[in-house]
């Protein structure tokens, strides 16, 4: 029984992170919570395969991600949805006071291809190392690095901001940055 409650508490503690990652993947709060629920059930069933002392969060993220992609495969055509929409959409314009609005950022994030979005979330937000992210996504460290880099460039392009200088100064430099990133 002690094993059960300890594991249960660890899972409980991981839920906010799992939900945040799930929302980032699905872009939909309801789907995200269903995904988290599936993940918790799977994690409970697969408890034996978790190596004590290793990173539980990474283990759970791996389960969640696998579950997400297996659901996507079942649904078929929804899978590459984001790619198609992305090219159709116009770039987000920074709000009038020049500050990058969180809503704009969310919109831009949605336009990223799935693999780039998950990479930049894992590295830039969830706090994983490149090695851990590679493990979670089942790919090479270099692949994660290039996805993060492409995601970052693309976000800058969509949001029309340049790297270290805040809120891209003018339209011309934004265009230059845009053509570089492409």
């Amino acid at each position: 029984m002690a094993v059960s409650s300890a594991f249960k508490n660890d899972l409980l503690a991981a839920i906010p992170n799992l939900r945040a990652f799930a929302v980032s993947l699905t872009q939909n709060a309801d789907k995200a919570d269903d995904l988290v629920q599936e993940t918790l059930v799977k994690a409970w069933d697969k408890h034996e395969s978790f190596q004590m002392g290793t990173n539980l969060k990474a283990w759970l993220f791996t389960i969640l991600r696998n579950e997400f992609y297996s659901q996507m495969r079942k649904r078929g055509r929804e899978v590459q949805d984001t790619d198609g929409i992305m090219t159709e959409r116009l770039a987000v314009h920074p709000s009038q006071h020049g500050l990058l609005d969180l809503e704009d950022f969310r919109g831009a994030l949605e336009q990223l291809p799935q693999d780039q979005r998950e990479a930049i979330i894992l590295i830039g937000a969830s706090g994983f190392s490149y090695e851990e992210a590679a493990e979670i996504c089942g790919c090479a460290v270099g692949t994660i690095k290039s996805r993060v880099s492409r995601a970052r460039n693309r976000l800058q392009e969509i949001l029309k901001i340049s790297g270290e200088e805040e809120y891209g100064p003018d339209a011309i430099s934004a265009q230059v940055t845009g053509s570089n990133a492409a």
Binding site: S4, A125, S149, Q156
Partner: protein
């Protein structure tokens, strides 16, 4: 011209190292954290603790050998 800039930018990125790619000086890095922190602070619905309580009761875990 643009090609050179692009190359220089790439080199700069590499030199900064991976951590700085989304570091505190990057607007993207900051927004990303803000976006995620907002998600993290979202209150966890009851259903999850209920689910775990059910799992704990229905399928107690075995101590690993």
């Amino acid at each position: 011209m643009t090609k050179q800039q692009s190359g220089a930018e790439q080199t700069a990125l590499r030199r900064q190292g991976s951590n700085d790619l989304l570091g505190a000086n990057s607007e993207i890095g900051r927004k990303l954290k803000q976006y995620y922190d907002e998600l993290l602070s979202d209150e966890v619905p009851e259903r999850f603790s209920q689910l775990l309580a059910q799992l704990e009761q229905a399928e107690p875990l075995q101590k690993k050998g």
